[in-house]
């Protein structure tokens, strides 16, 4: 950008630093308290230990919730990958009002407040007599991350030269062969990064899940319940692990976005 006077740059850095504290402060607190104990509102500085992490492995409730979260995440990602790709191809193949409308519908859950998406699904499940369960959660998450996968795949598809598919057909390949040999390899990185991002979003999804969840549930639900009752020390350990996991995950996702096309 334009060269700025020192004062202004210093000011910007100061504000950025402040924002950094705002964003990471709460998280550092959680990490901190996963290693140190708090007794009667006094920090025990000599209590550094991994005992909280150890306790975590014994907490069945948490571990079950974690497992559910992974299952939901995996399912939502799988479903949104398949449908997102199908829909992106549909849109790319032909311009039509139907496709434009369809695209709008796909984007809705992402654009609207999650509470609306959640409520509409809640009502839908009630009308169709579907019990709330992990399945309804999966549906809620899929609908939410679909837009992300769709957008990512479509962008990549549009960036690929149209003549690649034409060239493949021209050389005698069937549509299926064209998809497998030519299109899919070039979409691979986009699919992977979309999958990782979608998984991360699903992992942390709270608002929609709250509305469509049954009795078995995901980690955010468990945390939400614990909020009222009070946290046990192993929660901070879990939080720290989750933070580490999310960081790694997002770094991974961005690697795939950064990576140049095969050679």
């Amino acid at each position: 950008m334009i060269p700025l006077p020192r004062v202004v740059t210093a000011g910007l850095v100061l504000i950025a630093g402040f924002v950094f504290l705002l964003l990471y402060g709460p998280l550092f607190v959680a990490i901190f308290f996963s290693f140190f104990r708090l007794e009667r509102n006094e920090v025990q500085w000599d209590s550094f230990s991994f005992s909280a992490y150890e306790a975590l492995t014994h907490n069945r409730g948490i571990l079950d919730a974690l497992m559910n979260t992974l299952v939901v995440g995996g399912s939502a990602v799988a479903l949104s990958l398949v449908f997102g790709t199908l829909l992106a191809f549909r849109y790319h193949a032909r311009r039509s009002t139907a496709n434009e409308l369809l695209q709008l519908i796909i984007f809705l859950p992402f654009l609207m407040p999650p509470i609306i998406t959640g409520l509409s699904l809640l009502i839908f499940f009630r009308q169709t007599d579907v019990d709330r369960s992990l399945l309804t959660v999966v549906i809620g998450h899929t609908v939410f991350v679909l837009a992300l996968v769709y957008r990512t795949v479509l962008a990549r598809l549009q960036a690929l030269s149209r003549s690649l598919a034409e060239a493949s057909l021209d050389l005698g390949a069937s549509h299926f062969q064209t998809f497998v040999y030519v299109l899919l390899p070039n979409l691979a990185t986009a699919l992977v990064s979309a999958a990782i991002l979608a998984f991360a979003l699903s992992f942390d999804e709270t608002l929609i899940t709250l509305l469509v969840t049954g009795t078995k549930s995901t980690l955010p639900m468990r945390l939400w319940a614990m909020m009222r009752l009070g946290f046990t020390p192993d929660i901070n350990a879990l939080v720290t692990l989750l933070l580490a996991g999310s960081t790694v995950l997002s770094l991974l996702a961005l690697q795939f976005v950064r990576l140049p096309k095969p050679r």
Partner: protein
């Protein structure tokens, strides 16, 4: 070279296979979004026109829910207050987010990549944990008060930071900050470097270049960031519940309670529809700004 015949399937059976596969794919493709997005929304809208009597949902069309919203003196003020609060959130996030985005845009190479990551990753961090952590930070026994007391800046712990609307606004701002930083950053990045060079070449000072060139061109990013945070704040019902206490009652909480204890789904749906209208207005209005006349 002599012409060689093709090896492969005959055209007829390949064509048949292709046709049925196509229909299947079309059906599937349309199925998911329509079934799980459009239909629920339609039902949701429909629900807002039903009403509740003796704990039962009566499925007859009526507008009494909407009438109640306007007639009953509780709801409109809360709605207005919530909108103002979310507007406040939008303003705070943009005001704090713009300098950060600007700083990021002015960096180069590795540093830019890393720092952008630093400010965007919090988006993926646990939502509940953030709220909880902020709550514990702001509470009377919280970290902030402890530090301020230890530093001797205050005698009594500050109580106005928690369990009220201000707390909701602060918490939401912290959570939604990255949503403002990102669009502004993207908009700044899009500004072609040679325009800035031209501005300098024509003699503009840094401030003038900023005011007359950068700011207008980054307006899109500001609009997107503001509307995004506004919409997300508006629909949030968890944060107010966790840090709002008794006085921090937002519209989202009212809606949520209709689906919980109050058990008035039709009314809740009507309130949500009203909220949705505001959201749509914001989105459309943003769309107008985001596509200014001078851009192709």
């Amino acid at each position: 070279m002599p012409y060689r015949p093709r090896i492969g399937r005959s055209s007829t059976d390949a064509a048949g296979e292709l046709a049925s596969a196509r229909y299947l794919m079309t059906g599937l493709a349309y199925g998911l979004p329509i079934l799980f997005i459009l239909l629920p929304l339609a039902l949701f809208l429909l629900q807002s026109f039903f009403y509740v009597e003796n704990g039962q949902i009566i499925q007859t069309i009526t507008v009494r829910n909407y009438v109640r919203f306007f007639a009953d003196p509780i709801f409109v003020p809360v709605f207005v207050r919530t909108c103002l609060l979310c507007l406040g959130v939008a303003v705070i996030t943009v005001v704090l987010g713009y300098p950060v985005a600007y700083l990021l845009a002015s960096l180069e190479g590795r540093l830019k990549y890393t720092m952008t990551l630093v400010f965007v990753i919090p988006l993926l961090m646990s939502y509940i944990i953030k709220i909880y952590a902020i709550r514990s930070l702001l509470g009377s026994n919280g970290f902030l008060n402890r530090i301020l007391t230890t530093l001797g800046l205050i005698d009594q712990p500050l109580t106005f930071l928690i369990f009220n609307l201000q707390a909701v606004m602060l918490t939401l701002s912290v959570i939604l900050l990255p949503f403002a930083i990102l669009p502004i950053f993207v908009a700044l990045e899009k500004i072609p470097r040679n325009i800035l060079e031209a501005s300098a070449d024509l003699g503009a000072s840094s401030w003038q270049s900023f005011r007359d060139v950068i700011l207008p061109l980054s307006l899109q990013g500001i609009a997107i960031g503001a509307s995004f945070t506004f919409v997300l704040a508006l629909g949030d019902f968890v944060t107010p519940q966790m840090v709002g206490g008794q006085s921090g009652f937002t519209f989202g909480r009212i809606i949520y309670s209709q689906f919980g204890l109050a058990f008035n789904w039709p009314f809740g749906s009507a309130l949500s529809v009203l909220m949705l209208i505001v959201v749509l207005v914001v989105i459309i209005w943003t769309g107008r700004i985001v596509r200014p006349r001078y851009q192709p």
